[in-house]
């Protein structure tokens, strides 16, 4: 499977998001670069709203991530509950 990735700015808003992603995706690998955190995963990566809400203790709209996103790779699908990045082959 090819690698999908998501890169976020390093800041207070993304810290719990990254924590949630790592909880939900055991295959995710973190690559910390200056001012940027890149999360790589083989084939598929899921960002779950509920996990983020548990960590931050408030309601969270996944569209808020738009503010801190740097780049990504893979096909994307977003619903109220999840953002999924994936390759089909």
């Amino acid at each position: 499977m090819s690698t999908v990735f998501l890169a976020l700015q390093t800041n207070e808003e993304t810290r719990p998001i990254i924590e949630a992603i790592l909880q939900d995706n055991p295959n995710a690998v973190v690559d910390e670069q200056p001012a940027m955190v890149k999360i790589n995963a083989d084939g598929r990566l899921v960002v779950r709203r509920e996990t983020i809400e548990e960590i931050i203790g408030r309601e969270y709209d996944l569209q808020e991530m738009q503010v801190n996103m740097i780049t990504m790779s893979g096909n994307l699908d977003q619903t109220d509950d999840e953002i999924t990045l994936f390759w089909k082959s």
Partner: protein, 517 residues
């Protein structure tokens, strides 16, 4: 106290349907082909526009909300940067030349992208892509504006940026990025989406923004880093739009596949040639390097692009064939480009220099197959000559490639000792090309590319002197006249960094910032 009962909100998918397709209507008293006149001539067949959906399912109301938040964050930081004399915190003043390259080479393209997406969005009968194009069009003008605002602070202190838009439309090497985008916006709406939306945004954007932005982060430039990240947060959406557009077109009709493949081949190569400037910036212009051009190409194109084209193989789309030649050039591209700018530093809007010993060692380590053999010897020779007072600024204009407009500086794929020349005869004229790929692009659309505004031809035809110039007077200095036309001042905006006002001022100001004088 009354209990607040939360109203049942629509889910994301329903909201998206209501706010895009729900806002569309079928015209009753005008014909579709009159309203959307550009949609058929490229040969792309679309059967069901409703099959297109933005994977982020972003609607205009949410768009305004998040964009406003991005702007507030950005301007807070720009203010802090300016209030704190942030420009004195960069690694060394050579770094500022990358900012000059950015404002005159890239920011004007953001504005053209704004126009391009507005035009493409208007041309599409489907509400999904139309809304996504509207958002991207607004993003692009935001990028142009925020870049101008951020970099205006550098312009107060350093040279070469004072008339960047005027320069963009005139300076010889800036015709490379300019003509690239002009080529894209004068194509049809589908080709524009494949060229900029897919090939540039999805396949190549990481090579433009990530190196510039992380370069800024490594070199203490908080202003550029912040607008870079702010722009980049839109870029994830643009990439998704680019990929979605390609998948949508390919799924609509098998007859679309060969047309799209030709566009991908063409625009990957066109985009890559423009990135020559980025390659040189990464390997030579950042005092503190992030990664080499070669490494960036391997991570963001070979690995990441490889995954993308593997995924698109199910539609019958193949990796663009130019990838093979690019792989052969990756050991040479940045060195050949920097050598050229060092030669033509008298005619540029930024300063050049020869890498110092540490930098040569870095280059040799990053480019073990090429640097010591082909490039170090010429740099050492040039450095020696400069030390003896023989710094040579080339004033003879180079031959340009008719397609990419880069001087004919590139070597044969696989032979770094021989310049690559290709030519085509067309309607009694001879046209020159830097590569097989640029030649093929010309041969497929000669009527478009014979119209290219090539800076060197224009100078020789006398079109790049200030009004009233008489080139026949004795002692006429063509370069001086051209610089006037560019609105650049000889000795201030051009030549080597070592003798520049920028270097002198930066050292003085930094001294003042740390001492009580």
């Amino acid at each position: 106290m009354d209990m607040q009962v939360a109203k049942k909100k629509l889910g994301l998918k329903e909201r998206y349907a209501v706010m895009t397709r729900g806002l569309d209507w079928t015209p009753s008293y005008q014909k579709m082909e009159d309203i959307y006149p550009y949609i058929a001539y490229e040969g792309i067949k679309i059967h069901d526009w409703d099959k297109w959906e933005d994977p982020f399912r972003l609607t205009m109301d949410a768009y305004w909300k998040y964009q406003a938040e991005k702007e507030r964050k950005l301007y807070a930081i720009i203010d802090a940067f300016n209030q704190n004399n942030g420009h004195l915190n960069v690694t060394d003043a050579r770094y500022i030349n990358t900012v000059k390259l950015f404002i005159s080479g890239i920011s004007p393209l953001e504005y053209v992208a704004h126009r391009g997406f507005a035009h493409a969005g208007r041309a599409f009968p489907g509400p999904g892509p139309r809304v996504a194009c509207l958002m991207q069009s607004l993003d692009e003008i935001r990028h142009a504006q925020t870049q101008v605002h951020s970099i205006s602070n550098y312009n107060k202190y350093y040279n070469g940026m004072h008339d960047f838009h005027h320069a963009h439309d005139r300076v010889w090497f800036l015709s490379v990025p300019k003509s690239f985008f002009d080529d894209a916006i004068t194509a049809g709406p589908f080709e524009f989406m494949v060229s900029i939306g897919f090939s540039f945004e999805y396949v190549l954007t990481n090579l433009l923004f990530v190196p510039f932005v992380s370069g800024a982060a490594y070199n203490g430039d908080m202003g550029t880093m912040t607008f870079g990240f702010s722009a980049q947060s839109d870029e994830a959406r643009h990439m998704t739009l680019g990929l979605e557009v390609i998948k949508f077109i390919l799924e609509q009709d098998p007859a679309n596949v060969p047309i799209v493949q030709r566009w991908i081949d063409k625009w990957t190569w066109r985009g890559y040639r423009v990135l020559t400037l980025v390659a040189m910036m990464m390997d030579y212009m950042l005092p503190k390097r992030t990664m080499s051009w070669k490494e960036a190409w391997e991570v963001y194109f070979e690995e990441n692009g490889g995954a993308l084209f593997k995924d698109l193989a199910r539609y019958g789309i193949k990796m663009p064939k130019c990838a093979e030649q690019i792989a052969l050039e990756k050991d040479h591209l940045s060195h050949q480009a920097w050598s050229t700018f060092y030669n033509y530093a008298a005619a540029a809007n930024f300063h050049t220099w020869m890498p110092d010993e540490d930098e040569m060692a870095w280059l040799a380590a990053k480019y073990p197959n090429s640097f010591d053999k082909h490039y170090r010897p010429r740099y050492e020779f040039w450095r020696e000559q400069a030390a003896k007072g023989n710094r040579f600024y080339n004033k003879t204009l180079p031959m340009l490639c008719q397609t990419c407009q880069i001087p004919m500086i590139f070597t044969e794929p696989g032979d770094a000792t021989k310049i690559c020349y290709r030519e085509v005869d067309y309607k009694g004229d001879k046209y020159h090309f830097c590569s097989d790929h640029c030649k093929e692009i010309f041969e497929h659309e000669p009527e478009k590319y014979v119209q290219a505004w090539l800076p060197v031809h224009q100078i020789y035809q006398g079109n790049c002197f200030p009004e009233g110039t008489d080139p026949t007077v004795e002692g006429f200095d063509p370069l001086a006249a051209v610089l006037k036309y560019y609105n650049l001042e000889h000795g201030r905006d051009n030549l080597d960094f070592d003798i520049s006002e920028d270097k002198k001022n930066f050292a003085e100001w930094r001294g003042q910032a740390t001492k009580n004088i």
